[in-house]
């Protein structure tokens, strides 16, 4: 029992600027024992969103001089504010990663204002000039990896019917569905993606029902965008369908059915952040990237993926990694026949229009509302 930890509180607050550099451009390296706090909305072994972040945290634990504290299943209410404060006051955390979308505003913003000398990094939020300078938001263009999954799925399907189990029709999810479908159409122009929205991020029963219903309708390759893909992956594999994973590598759950998957690469990003801070570099408050920036990655191909599929997918992956490939390139029509990106228009990964996506491209069976 180390009661001493509490009495360090004031000391830590006073010297916080020294321990971890902030937007003020601090000079010093990471101090002898820097504490980093990670907060997850679900359980950290969910084979999904939270596990991806926990893997990033695990990568930090391997670095010398860092102490990582973690808390799981923290609600997106003032509970997360108190968890952040508790990590700061009782554990001496100076860098915090509240990883769920709903933690950003008002909760993390409030804490960043309250502790201006500490650094807060949020996954998924849209940092703007109005927000505190010691807060940042980072995210990845995971639709690039979904595009690769789509290519592999397009080659692997026998029925030409793909399935997508999705949470909510919000821009991030629609972008993944559309990228997956556009990728599949590269491989098989007649391929369709049937999408089912479950209505929320973690609805295991509905996810299982959606998976079964899609397979009953002839779908033979599935992917998803929900917090925990485990339900979809296991059920689809049991029914003999193939799957593309999401968030983390789910191949241990279904080694034979697993084709590839769109994964976060937090285990590369988080150590990079810490090294930037140690080197006195400021982390951009708004930090984004895709395959090129190593924020997302693709799972290794499963055994059943054909050589042709691998070659085509690797080729596009190389182009995306070098940064000269655009997924959302006109002409693109939505599934109601309306042109959404005109011929000749290229919407690159950072195009703000894509952040407002509210349509499903041609080839997707389903509706946004």
């Amino acid at each position: 029992m180390d009661i001493g930890r509490i009495s360090r509180r004031h000391l830590l607050q006073g010297s916080a600027a020294l321990t971890l550099g902030t937007a003020f451009g601090a000079r010093s390296a990471v101090a002898a024992e820097t504490t980093i706090g990670f907060i997850y909305v679900g359980s950290r072994d969910d084979y999904g969103y939270n596990q991806a972040h926990a893997q990033g945290a695990a990568a930090l634990k391997k670095l010398p001089g860092l102490k990582v504290v973690e808390e799981e299943k923290v609600a997106e209410t003032d509970a997360v504010e108190k968890t952040m404060e508790s990590m700061i006051n009782l554990d001496g955390a100076t860098l915090l990663f509240p990883t769920s979308f709903g933690y950003y505003n008002p909760h993390m913003i409030k804490m960043a204002n309250k502790f201006p000398k500490l650094r807060f990094e949020h996954c998924g939020g849209l940092w703007s000039d109005k927000d505190p300078k010691n807060a940042g938001s980072y995210f990845g263009y995971i639709d690039e990896a979904q595009y690769i999954s789509g290519i592999v799925a397009g080659y692997s399907t026998k029925t030409g019917k793909l399935g997508f189990v999705a949470a909510k029709p919000i821009p991030q999810v629609l972008r993944n569905i559309n990228a997956f479908t556009l990728g599949a159409k590269l491989a098989n122009p007649k391929a369709t993606t049937q999408v089912i929205f479950t209505g929320d991020w973690s609805m295991p029963v509905k996810e299982a029902e959606a998976t079964n219903s899609l397979i009953d309708q002839g779908v033979d390759v599935l992917t998803c965008h929900v917090d925990g893909p485990k339900t979809m992956v296991e059920n689809a594999a049991r029914r003999g369908a193939m799957v593309c994973g999401y968030h983390v590598n789910q191949s241990p759950l279904a080694p034979k059915a697993y084709l590839t998957g769109a994964e976060w690469n937090w285990e590369a990003l988080y150590p990079k952040f810490v090294k930037m801070i140690a080197a006195g570099e400021a982390i951009p408050n708004f930090y984004r990237g895709g395959l090129k920036e190593e924020i997302v990655k693709c799972s290794p191909y499963g055994e059943v993926v054909s050589a042709e599929a691998r070659k085509h997918a690797d080729d596009i992956k190389a182009k995306l990694t070098s940064g000269d490939y655009v997924i959302f390139k006109g002409p693109i029509t939505d599934n109601k026949g309306k042109t959404v990106i005109a011929a000749g228009t290229e919407r690159g990964q950072k195009d703000p229009e894509l952040e407002k996506m509210d349509y499903l491209v041609e080839g997707v069976i389903g509706a946004t509302s």
Binding site: A79, G124, K356
Partner: protein, 369 residues
């Protein structure tokens, strides 16, 4: 038998065991403190064994629980912040229990209360903050009140079991909330987290001066004390308890049972609706899916642990707030999963329910008549 003890001060002067009058008068009250206290100690003991099985020291466990919940001023504020909504939602179960009704739908009333309060604030944007805040309180209470009154009405006029109907109404409330937040009431700027517009910083009710704890705690304590007075010191409360004891007897003596049910259900729902209003006006600043954080469900646990006594709800809510506040520290220091806190809550629940059998059976507390 008459007692020569005039008041508690005199009673303290006399050895209790030597004076049966003291025990006869206060034995009941002592029972109410002693039995739940023993149940709590027993539960903590069993949880200590449970933790020891995982190779962690129970002494560390107790120390961290104390430190995380009550050990520092910050811990106290953490505990009280978490307790605040629980007092109000617990009353949603405790009040109808006086009539022998088991209402478990406080979560639904909370959501409807939050939605009503937000709606009012959004249409009254130009009014002075105090007027908006009062209107929000009224709207939240009326919204939540009508919602639980619906369950009471179904029971009174249609014979529908109120436990089932109030629970199912939670899912309807959540569906209404999601429908409005993702549709009509959606702030177009809330791209990836569908939310209503913000009620505005000026309309927020803020925290109790000198603390981080929001006014919900004061509302809760006032509501609990008012409920206690209503139930135990008014004719209305007496009538309610008569009806709760024997509904046919109450009808025979001419009590209007229907009116009692509807009124009590309204008050119960109003208190959960007020919790929803506070979540909006003190924490979230708008309505979105974050509001469904489970306070309504934890409130049921609080009410049962308090044996449905409105006054006892206050300390029990603080106890559960403390358990959840210290839960984070247990995760961080002992590496226990979040589920261990639920195991502890479960053990406490079982012990307290089982200890019900002890009331009136502890010989030395009865006194001799």
């Amino acid at each position: 038998m008459t007692s020569d003890v005039a008041d508690p001060a005199d009673a303290a002067a006399i050895s209790p065991a030597a004076d049966p009058g003291f025990l006869q008068r206060y034995g009941g009250t002592i029972e109410y403190i002693l039995i739940p206290g023993a149940a709590l100690v027993g539960a903590l003991g069993v949880f200590g064994i449970f933790v020891a099985l995982f190779g962690k020291s129970p002494l560390d466990l107790y120390f961290y629980m104390y430190q995380g919940a009550f050990g520092t001023w910050f811990s106290w504020q953490n505990t009280l912040t978490r307790a605040a909504p629980l007092i109000l939602t617990a009353l949603c179960t405790a009040l109808p229990a006086q009539l022998g009704m088991v209402i478990i739908g406080g979560e639904g009333a909370l959501l409807i209360g939050a939605l009503a309060a937000t709606s009012v604030a959004l249409v009254m944007q130009s009014a002075p903050p105090l007027v908006v805040q009062l209107a929000m309180v009224a709207a939240g209470m009326i919204g939540g009140g009508l919602w639980i009154m619906l369950a009471g009405g179904l029971r009174q006029y249609r014979g529908v079991n109120e436990t089932i109907s109030s629970l199912l109404l939670v899912y309807i409330a959540l569906a209404i909330l999601n429908h409005l937040v993702e549709g009509m009431m959606r702030d177009p700027a809330s791209l990836n987290k569908p939310s209503t517009r913000e009620i505005g910083a000026a309309n927020m009710i803020g925290t109790i001066p000198g603390t981080d704890v929001h006014w919900g705690l004061v509302f809760g304590v006032v509501a609990a004390v008012a409920s206690y007075i209503l139930i135990y010191h008014t004719v209305f409360g007496f009538a309610a308890r008569v009806a709760g004891g024997n509904i046919r007897a109450a009808k025979i003596v001419g009590l209007s049972v229907g009116k009692l049910i509807l009124t009590i259900c309204f008050l119960a729902g109003a208190s959960a609706g007020l919790a929803g209003m506070v979540e909006v006006a003190a924490v979230q600043g708008r309505t979105n899916a974050n509001l469904a954080a489970g306070y309504g469900f934890t409130g049921i646990l609080v009410a049962f642990l308090a044996r449905q006594n409105p006054l006892a709800v206050i300390p029990v809510a603080i106890l559960l707030g403390g358990i959840s506040a210290s839960g984070g520290l247990l995760q961080r220091r002992l590496g226990l999963p979040d589920a261990s806190v639920q195991v502890l809550q479960g053990i406490i629940f079982v012990f307290v329910l089982a200890s019900d059998a002890l009331y009136g059976r502890i010989g030395f507390l009865k006194g001799k008549s």
